[in-house]
C-alpha cells in the first residue's frame, strides 16, 4: 500500500491543531510559530498532491479506501479529482496567510480587560478548520463528507464567537453580544441545512444501499440504480439546501454579513474563502453526480436565485456602511456567480465556477486582509471613519486597490477569467440570465470604487493622520496574494488544465452537451 497522501494532508493540520492547543499558555509565540510551520508543511503536502495528480488520469486519484462502519456500508474513502485538487491547493495556500495575518488578533488584551483570549486556541481552531475542510474536499464517501461538513461548524463557531476585533465603536459589551449573535446565527443556519442534508443522506442510503459516491454515481450512470423522479428530487433538494446555506445563496445568506462583520478579518477570510467553498464544491460533486436529472429539473429556479444573489448582493454592498459587511455582501454576489456557473451546465460555466472558487478565495483574502489591517489601525469598521488613507499609507492603499480591482474582476487579474467564463457559459445556454448577470460587473465597480474613494482618497482625516503603512509581516501576507492574482489572471492554464477533465466528467454525468455555435451548427 502506498503512502496515504490524502490522509496525511488532512491529518497533519489536525495533529498540528492538537499540538498547538497543547502549548503552555505562557509560550504564546511558540504556538504561533508552530501553527505557521504546520500550515506550511500542509502546503507542502498539498503541493505534493498537486504534483502527483495526473490531469489525464483516472477520475479519482490517490484513492484510499477502508471499511469504517461495515454495517451501514460507510467507508473511509478518499479520492481527488481536478476540482478537489484545485480547492485543496487553495485552502493550503490561504491558511498560512490567514495565520500570519491574524498573528496578533488573539493576543491577550491590554491589562484591565476581563476578556480572556486564548491565543493557542485561536491558531489551533484555524488548523482544525483546515483539516476538516481538506478532508471534506477529499471524501468520496457521502457519510464521511457529511460528518466533516458538519464538524467544521464547531471550530468556526468558536472562531466567530470568541475572537472579535480589538476595538469596537460600541464598546466591549455590545461587541460581545453582537459576536455571540453572529456565531449563533452562523451555527443555527448551517445546522438546519446540515440536518436537512442528514435526512437526505439517510434517504440516499435507503435508496442506494451504500454511501460510496463513486459506486452510486456509476450505478446511476449505467442504469442499475433507478430512483423515482420524486425521490430523486427530494434528495437533491435536501443536499442542495445544505450547500446553499453554506455557499450562501439568496435568501439564505443573512448569516454571512453578521459572521464576517463580527469575526476578525482572518476569520472572515476563513469563512468566505475557504469554508464556504465546501458548499459550492459539494454542489458540483454531489448534487450533479448523484442527482443529474433532478439537477436539471431545478436549474431554472436555482439560476433565478443565483441571479438574485448577484444583483441583490451587489446592491446591498453599495448600501453598506461597514467595510467588512460590504465585502460580505460582495461575496454573496460572487457566490451567485459561482452557483450560476455550476448550474448553467456548460463546460465554460463549470470550469469558470471552479476557477471562480479559487480566484474568489484569493481576491477576497487580499481585500479582506488589507481591510483588516486598516481596521486594526483605526479601530473602526465604519467607512465614514476613514478618508485620505492613500496619502499616509500608500502601500496599504495600493494593495487595497488591487484587492478591490480583483473583486470587480478587472481583466488581467485572476477573477476576470473565471467571471467571464461563467458569464459566457451561462449566456450560451440562457442568454437573458447571462445579460442580467452582466449588470453585476457594473455594480461591482460601483461598490468597490465607492469604498476605495471614501476610505482612501479625499482630505486626510485627523484620526488617520498618523496611521502607519503596511509592516513587513503584513506585506509578506499581501504581496504573494497580489502576485498570485496577477499570475492567475495572465496565465490560468495550470489551473484550467487540472480542472478541465473533471468538468468534462461532470458534464457527461448530467448528460449535457455544450450548445454549439450557430455557424458550425448551420454547417
Amino acid at each position: 500500500m502506498s503512502f496515504p497522501l490524502l490522509t496525511a494532508t488532512a491529518v497533519l493540520p489536525a495533529l498540528g491543531a492538537i499540538a498547538t492547543a497543547a502549548v503552555p499558555a505562557a509560550k504564546r509565540t511558540a504556538a504561533k510559530w508552530l501553527a505557521l510551520v504546520v500550515s506550511l508543511a500542509t502546503l507542502a503536502l498539498a503541493v505534493t498532491v498537486l504534483v502527483r495528480f495526473d490531469p489525464d488520469g483516472a477520475r479519482y486519484q490517490l484513492t484510499e479506501s477502508h471499511a469504517w462502519i461495515p454495517e451501514f456500508g460507510v467507508r473511509y474513502e478518499l479520492g481527488v479529482d481536478g476540482i478537489a485538487v484545485a480547492l485543496i491547493a487553495l485552502t493550503a495556500v490561504l491558511i498560512p496567510f490567514i495565520i500570519l495575518a491574524g498573528w496578533h488578533d488573539a493576543d491577550p488584551l491590554e491589562t484591565g480587560s476581563k476578556r480572556w483570549r486564548p491565543t493557542q486556541g485561536f491558531f489551533a481552531l484555524i488548523l482544525a478548520v483546515e483539516a476538516m475542510v481538506i478532508i471534506s474536499f477529499e471524501a468520496t464517501d457521502v457519510f464521511l463528507f457529511y460528518i466533516f461538513f458538519e464538524a467544521m461548524l464547531i471550530p468556526m463557531y468558536f472562531l466567530i464567537g470568541g475572537f472579535g476585533d480589538r476595538a469596537h465603536e460600541h464598546g466591549e459589551e455590545t461587541a460581545a453580544t453582537q459576536r455571540s449573535y453572529a456565531a449563533v446565527k452562523f451555527l443555527l443556519y448551517n445546522l438546519v441545512g446540515g440536518l436537512i442534508m442528514l435526512a437526505a443522506v439517510i434517504g440516499l442510503y435507503v435508496v442506494a444501499g451504500n454511501f460510496s459516491l463513486t459506486e452510486i454515481a456509476e450505478a446511476r450512470a449505467n442504469g442499475s440504480l433507478n430512483m423515482a423522479t420524486s425521490t430523486e428530487r427530494w434528495l437533491f433538494l435536501g443536499f442542495f439546501f445544505a450547500f446553499a446555506v453554506k455557499a450562501p445563496l439568496w435568501p439564505l445568506h443573512t448569516w454571512l454579513p453578521n459572521a464576517m462583520g463580527e469575526a476578525t478579518a482572518p476569520v472572515a477570510v476563513l469563512i468566505t474563502a475557504v469554508v464556504d467553498k465546501v458548499g459550492t464544491f459539494a454542489m458540483l460533486r454531489f448534487c450533479l453526480q448523484l442527482f443529474p436529472e433532478a439537477s436539471k429539473w431545478a436549474t431554472p429556479a436555482i439560476l433565478v436565485l443565483a441571479l438574485i444573489s448577484i444583483i441583490y448582493g451587489a446592491l446591498l454592498a453599495v448600501g453598506q456602511r461597514d467595510i467588512k459587511r460590504l465585502v460580505a455582501y460582495a461575496s454573496i454576489s460572487h457566490f451567485g456567480f459561482i452557483i450560476m456557473g455550476i448550474f448553467a451546465m456548460t463546460s465554460q460555466g463549470q470550469s469558470g465556477a471552479t476557477l471562480y472558487m479559487v480566484n474568489h478565495g484569493i481576491s477576497t483574502a487580499a481585500l479582506m486582509l488589507v481591510a483588516g489591517f486598516l481596521i486594526s489601525r483605526r479601530g473602526s469598521r465604519l467607512i465614514a471613519d476613514y478618508g485620505g488613507v492613500q496619502k499616509v499609507a500608500p502601500v496599504l492603499a495600493g494593495t487595497f486597490l488591487i484587492g478591490g480591482l480583483a473583486t470587480l474582476s478587472l481583466p488581467g487579474l485572476a477573477p476576470f477569467v473565471s467571471e467571464f467564463l461563467v458569464l459566457v457559459g451561462t449566456f450560451s445556454r440562457y442568454p437573458v440570465v447571462g445579460i442580467i448577470a452582466t449588470f453585476g460587473i457594473v455594480l461591482a465597480a460601483l461598490y468597490t470604487l465607492v469604498l476605495y474613494q471614501r476610505t482612501m482618497t479625499g482630505p486626510v482625516k485627523a484620526e488617520v493622520k498618523h496611521m502607519p503603512d503596511l509592516r513587513v509581516r503584513e506585506l509578506v501576507v499581501v504581496a504573494p496574494l497580489v502576485v498570485l492574482l496577477i499570475f492567475l489572471g495572465v496565465y490560468p492554464k495550470p489551473v484550467t488544465d487540472i480542472v478541465n477533465p473533471a468538468v468534462k466528467q461532470t458534464m457527461s454525468d448530467v448528460h449535457k452537451k455544450d450548445p454549439q455555435p450557430e455557424v458550425e451548427a448551420a454547417k
Binding site: 443573512t254 446592491l315 465554460q348 465597480a445 478541465n500
Partner: protein, 656 residues
C-alpha cells in the same frame, strides 16, 4: 519581427512595474525611466513600421501567438498579437504622441512629489493601450480596454486629495463599465454565434453567415453584436449617451487629458468599430445607429464646448465632438473607415497639441483654468501661442492644414451615404464644422487676445477650493506672472504643431492614407449627391461664418470676467446639456433609494423572517419550559405516559 510586438507592449509594462514597485529610491530618476521606455516602444514601433513598408500591401499583417490564455472545453482564448496597417497606425500614434507627452510631463509634473508614480501610471496606460490595438482577439482587446480604463481611473484621480478628482475618476470608471458590459455581451454573442472571438475567424464566419442564406435570423444576431460593440465604443469614446464622464475627467493632470482623453484612449471606440467593420458591414441597422450616435455627439460636444469657461472642459467638449465625427465616419462603412482613422490621427496631433498648449498656459498662470481670467497672453507665451494657434487652425479645418483634409472627407462621405440620411448626416457634420470654428475661435480669443484680465482681477482661488498644501505652494493665490514654459514642455508642443500642420496634407494628397489602410478596412469611393468641390467650399464657408460669429462676440467686445447668465441653451450647455442632472436624479438618487430600501428589506424582511422564527421558538419554548418543573417524579410521569403511548401505538400497529 513578430517578437518585437511583444516587446512593444512589454517595455512600458516593465516601466510601470519598476516604477510602481520601486519605491522612493527611484524618485529621482523615475520620470526618465518612464520616458525612456516609452521612447523604446516608439522606436520598436518605427522598426516594425519600416519592416511593414518593405512588404507588399497584402502581406503586411504580422501574427504572433504567444500562449494559450484560457483553454477550456470549447472555449479557447489565446494571447496573440495581430499587427496590421490599422494597428500599426495606432501603435505609431500611441507611442509617438505618448513619448512626447512623457517628455512634456517631466516639466509639467516637476513639482509634484508623486511624479514617479505618475510616470508609472502613464507607462501602464501605454502598455494597456498598445495591448488593445495589437490584440488578435476580442477578449485580449477587452483586457487592454479595461486596462486603459484603469490607467485612466488612476490618472484622473491622480490628485486624490481633491474629492472632485476622486469622484471624477470613479465616475469615468463606472460609465466605462457600462460600456464594458456592452463589449462583454458582444464577445459572448460572438462566442455563441461563431464559437470564437478571434478577429480572423469571426470576420470569416461573418462572411459565411451573410453569404450563406441557411442561417435565418443571422442578421439580427449581427445587429445585436454591432449594437453591443457600439455601446462599448460609446463608453470609451464618450459618445452620447455615455459621454458624461469626459468633462469631469479634466480633473486629471493636463498631460493626461492630452494623451488619454484627447489623443488615444477615447479613440479606442473608433478603433473598435473600424476593427469590427466586417460585422457592421453585414448589419446595416447597427451601422445606422453608429452614424446617429456620431452625429448627435458631434453636435452635443460642440454645443457644450461653446459654453464652457474652463479651457480644458471646452477642449473636452471639442474632443467629444471630433470623436463624434470619427464615429459618424466609421458608421458609414467602407467609404468612411479610412477617413475616420485619418481624422483620428490628425486629431491626435492637433488636439494633443491644443491640450499641451492649455497645460502650458495653466502652468504659466498658476493652474488657473478659467478662460475669463486669461486674455492677451500671446505676448507672454509666444511659443505656446504659435503652437496653440496652429492647432486651432488645424481643428477648425483651415484649408491646407491637417484638420481640413480629414474633416472635409468625412463630411463628403456623410453626404455620400445617399438619400435623406445622407443629407441629414452631412448637414449635421457641416453644422458641427461651423460650431467647431465658433468655439475654437472663442477659446483662442479669450486666451491669447483681448485685454489682460488676469491683471485687473487678481486670481481669487481656482474653481475647486484646494485643500492640498502642495497646490498652495505653487502659488495659487499670488498674482500670476505669465511666462513661457521650459523647453522640455515646448519641444513636444512644437513637434505636435508640425504634425497638425502637415499630417493632413501628407495623408490626404493622393489618398496615401486610404491606400495604406485599404487592405484592412476596405475602401470604396463615395458618390456625394453634390460635387466634392461644393462640399469643400461649403465647409470652408461655414468655417468662416463660425469664426466670424465668434469674433463678433468675443473679439470686438471685452469679455466679462464673471460669466453672464446667458440664454437657456447656454446655461444648459454649461451643465453638459443637463445630462449630469438626469444621471443624478434618476441613477444616483434612484440608486441610493434602491440600495437603502434593499438594506432595510434585507434587515427586516429576509433577516426578520429568520429572527421572527427564532423569537417564536423562544416564546414557545418559554411556555414549554414550565413543564420542566425540576421534579424528577414529574419527568417520570411523562416517561411512563410515553411508554404507555408506545405500547398503545404498537398494539394499534398490530391491530391494523
Amino acid at each position: 519581427m513578430e517578437n518585437l510586438i511583444a516587446l512593444l507592449v512589454a517595455a512600458p509594462l516593465l516601466g510601470a512595474a519598476v516604477l510602481l514597485c520601486g519605491g522612493r529610491r527611484l524618485d529621482a530618476v523615475g520620470h526618465w525611466i518612464g520616458t525612456a521606455l516609452a521612447a523604446v516602444s516608439f522606436v520598436l514601433g518605427v522598426v516594425l513600421f519600416a519592416d511593414m513598408l518593405g512588404k507588399s500591401p497584402e502581406n503586411r499583417t504580422l501574427m504572433q501567438h504567444l500562449f494559450s490564455w484560457i483553454p477550456v472545453e470549447g472555449f479557447q482564448a489565446n494571447v496573440g498579437f495581430q499587427l496590421d496597417q490599422l494597428s500599426m497606425t495606432f501603435v505609431l500614434l500611441i507611442t509617438g504622441v505618448g513619448s512626447l507627452i512623457h517628455l512634456y510631463s517631466i516639466g509639467y509634473m516637476e513639482h509634484d512629489e508623486r511624479r514617479r508614480r505618475f510616470f508609472g501610471y502613464l507607462n501602464l496606460f501605454l502598455a494597456a493601450m498598445l495591448l488593445l490595438v495589437v490584440a488578435d482577439n476580442y477578449l485580449l482587446l477587452y483586457v487592454g480596454w479595461e486596462g486603459v480604463g484603469l490607467a485612466s481611473y488612476l490618472l484622473i484621480g491622480f490628485w486624490q486629495h481633491k474629492p472632485s478628482a476622486a469622484t471624477a475618476a470613479k465616475k469615468a470608471f463606472l460609465v466605462n463599465r457600462v460600456g464594458d458590459m456592452g463589449l462583454s455581451i458582444a464577445i459572448m454573442l460572438m462566442f455563441t454565434t461563431f464559437g470564437t472571438f478571434a478577429f480572423g475567424p469571426v470576420f470569416q464566419a461573418t462572411g459565411a453567415l451573410t453569404s450563406g442564406a441557411d442561417a435565418p435570423g443571422s442578421e439580427g444576431k449581427l445587429t445585436a453584436i454591432g449594437l453591443m460593440l457600439l455601446l462599448a465604443a460609446c463608453g470609451k469614446s464618450a459618445q452620447v449617451p455615455l459621454q458624461s464622464w469626459l468633462g469631469d475627467a479634466m480633473e486629471g493632470p493636463t498631460p493626461v487629458s492630452a494623451l488619454i482623453h484627447a489623443a488615444t484612449m477615447v479613440t479606442a471606440g473608433v478603433y473598435l468599430i473600424v476593427r469590427s467593420g466586417d460585422i457592421f458591414n453585414a448589419a446595416p441597422d447597427a451601422q445606422l445607429a453608429v452614424t446617429v450616435v456620431g452625429a448627435v455627439t458631434l453636435l452635443f460636444g460642440a454645443i457644450v464646448g461653446c459654453a464652457k469657461d474652463d479651457i480644458k472642459k471646452a477642449l473636452a467638449g471639442s474632443t467629444m465632438s471630433q470623436i463624434g465625427y470619427m464615429v459618424l465616419a466609421a458608421g458609414l462603412g467602407p467609404i468612411g473607415y479610412a477617413f475616420a482613422i485619418m481624422h483620428l490621427v490628425t486629431h491626435g496631433f492637433f488636439k494633443a497639441g491644443l491640450f499641451l498648449g492649455a497645460g502650458s498656459v495653466m502652468h504659466g498662470m498658476n493652474d488657473e483654468v478659467d478662460m475669463r481670467k486669461y486674455g492677451g497672453l500671446r505676448k507672454y507665451m509666444p511659443i505656446t501661442f504659435v503652437t496653440f494657434g496652429l492647432g486651432y487652425l488645424a481643428i477648425i479645418g483651415f484649408p491646407g492644414l491637417s484638420g481640413f483634409f480629414s474633416k472635409d472627407k468625412i463630411i463628403e462621405a456623410a453626404f455620400a451615404k445617399g438619400g435623406a440620411e445622407g443629407w441629414i448626416l452631412g448637414g449635421a457634420a457641416l453644422l458641427g464644422a461651423a460650431i467647431t470654428a465658433f468655439y475654437m475661435t472663442r477659446v483662442m480669443l479669450m486666451t491669447f487676445f483681448g485685454e489682460e484680465r488676469w491683471r485687473h482681477a487678481p486670481t481669487p482661488s481656482p474653481a475647486e477650493p484646494s485643500v492640498e498644501p502642495a497646490a498652495e505652494t505653487r502659488g495659487a493665490h499670488a498674482e500670476p506672472h505669465p511666462h513661457e514654459s521650459p523647453k522640455v514642455m515646448t519641444i513636444p508642443m512644437i513637434v505636435l504643431a508640425v504634425g497638425s500642420v502637415f499630417a493632413g496634407a501628407f495623408f490626404g494628397i493622393g489618398e496615401r492614407f486610404v491606400k495604406w489602410l485599404e487592405p484592412v478596412t476596405g475602401f470604396e469611393h463615395g458618390h456625394p449627391p453634390v460635387s466634392a468641390l461644393t462640399v469643400t467650399l461649403s465647409t470652408v464657408a461655414v468655417m468662416v461664418v463660425g469664426v466670424g460669429f465668434a469674433y463678433a462676440q468675443y473679439g470686438r467686445r471685452p469679455v466679462p470676467v464673471v460669466a453672464p447668465r446667458g440664454s437657456l441653451l447656454t446655461r444648459a450647455a454649461r451643465r453638459d446639456l443637463l445630462q449630469d442632472d438626469f444621471n443624478h436624479v434618476v441613477l444616483v438618487r434612484g440608486g441610493e433609494h434602491l440600495t437603502r430600501s434593499l438594506v432595510y428589506v434585507d434587515h427586516t424582511l429576509v433577516d426578520g423572517v429568520v429572527n421572527g422564527t427564532a423569537a417564536t421558538m423562544g416564546g414557545l419554548s418559554g411556555r414549554l419550559r414550565r413543564l420542566q418543573n425540576g421534579f424528577a417524579r414529574s419527568y417520570a410521569v411523562s416517561m411512563f405516559g410515553g411508554a404507555a403511548v408506545l405500547i398503545a401505538a404498537t398494539l394499534l400497529m398490530r391491530a391494523v
